[in-house]
Symmetry: C2
Subunit: 206 residues, 2 copies
DNA sequence: GCCACATATAAACGAACCGTTCCGTTATGA
DNA sequence: TCATAACGGAACGGTTCGTTTATATGTGGC
């Protein structure tokens, strides 16, 4: 929030030669993050980011050709604040721990706004959709897949069901986030985790 | 697609007095629907809708103050094409039938585009979010709740789990639609339905 | 029959954002 | 030394936004 970070209107931050200026990169990501947190997706504009970062629009478009690229970069920067990889011993407990950590992360950092913006952007742009589906999602889901895989090894779930259960779980979180219902709802999270962890779906009834 | 519906550029459609003109309403909804189907969310604009419908922008803003209102109205108009309420006898079969009908509806009508636009809009506007969460979603989920409720009556699932299972199922469909993965994937739908229908989550391990 | 009123379209408004281009400056790296 | 590339500033033409003004049209109350 200092003038050095957000609006270095006095001092100018010029080129440092034939390479990317890390100060500029940081200033742009910070400005984008703050703008998303303040105004949300509808109030977001490259012009405003450039103004706040004290950067030129050509500079921004050089490094992040589309809004989706910028959103992904902002989310990447924040992900350090979320490193949940619970080893509670059983799937249900792992899911509860992971979910509570994720929702807290989405609520208490700008990451929730960034995620929502990325999903919104993906509904209007093929490139953004590809970024969301083929880059962002697989990366976010890696830790989660391990949680389910470990449960399969322990025999809690069928190994063949891992991907489908993953989708059910991720879908639940998306639905909650996109409808702004990620308050600390212990009971709802508990019911969801119990159902997912207890889903056997005995193949006989095919 | 006739000139009467989409672009009555020759003939003018004036006021019919101190009340809404049904012709204008229909022309606007048709134009909005076609534009969404053609250009998607990013390419959608009120200006273009007004041009295509041969209507004035003030007229559109009078009856649909926000884009979300217009999207909801467009979806409402199309919902007649989707009346799935399967009574196959068991939950898994019902879910498979419903899902296949829903995905077909989303793929083969403009409804999928409209849904995606509404979700996107809701990520940038409080009013749109409220419309999506408190009006659109509850309405869409009614039939679905009956399917789960009937399964509970038959003893296939616990009545106390209906709402949570509903959320898991709806989340799955949202995730698929918003990442544009609603091709006719028989195997994936089957796995999902089997897991949801078989979710008991025996309360003991609470 | 007359008139207040609400509706309809057209045209234009100022503001904002888009993505791009040109320019002058600065510093690297060959 | 010097081509190269990154930087910020300014402006471009085009589009959309939501609103306002003006005018025509038909309803419903009197």
């Amino acid at each position: 929030m200092s003038e050095d970070d957000e609006a270095p209107r006095g001092r100018r931050r010029g080129s440092i030669g034939a390479r990317r200026n890390p100060e500029t990169e940081a200033a742009v990501l910070m400005a984008a993050q703050a703008l998303l947190a303040e105004k949300g997706y509808a109030g977001f504009s490259i012009d405003e980011v450039a103004r706040r970062a004290g950067a030129g629009k050509p500079t921004i478009y050089r490094w992040w050709p589309t809004k989706a690229d910028l959103f992904v970069a902002v989310y990447e920067q924040d992900k350090a604040a979320f490193v949940a990889d619970p080893h509670a011993g059983d799937l249900k407990s792992d899911l509860i721990a992971y979910t509570r950590a994720l929702w807290t992360f989405w609520r208490d950092s700008p990451a929730g706004c960034t995620f929502r913006a990325l999903v919104a952007e993906a509904q209007g742009s093929k490139a953004a959709l590809a970024a969301l589906r083929d880059k962002f999602l697989p990366e976010r889901v890696r830790t989660l897949r391990n949680i389910f895989a470990r449960a399969a090894v322990r025999g809690e779930i069928d190994a063949a069901d891992v991907e489908a259960l993953l989708e059910l779980y991720v879908g639940f979180n998306w639905l909650r986030m996109l409808t702004d219902r990620i308050a600390d709802d212990k009971a709802a999270v508990d019911r969801m985790a119990r159902l997912i962890a207890g889903a056997r779906g005995d193949r006989k009834a095919g």
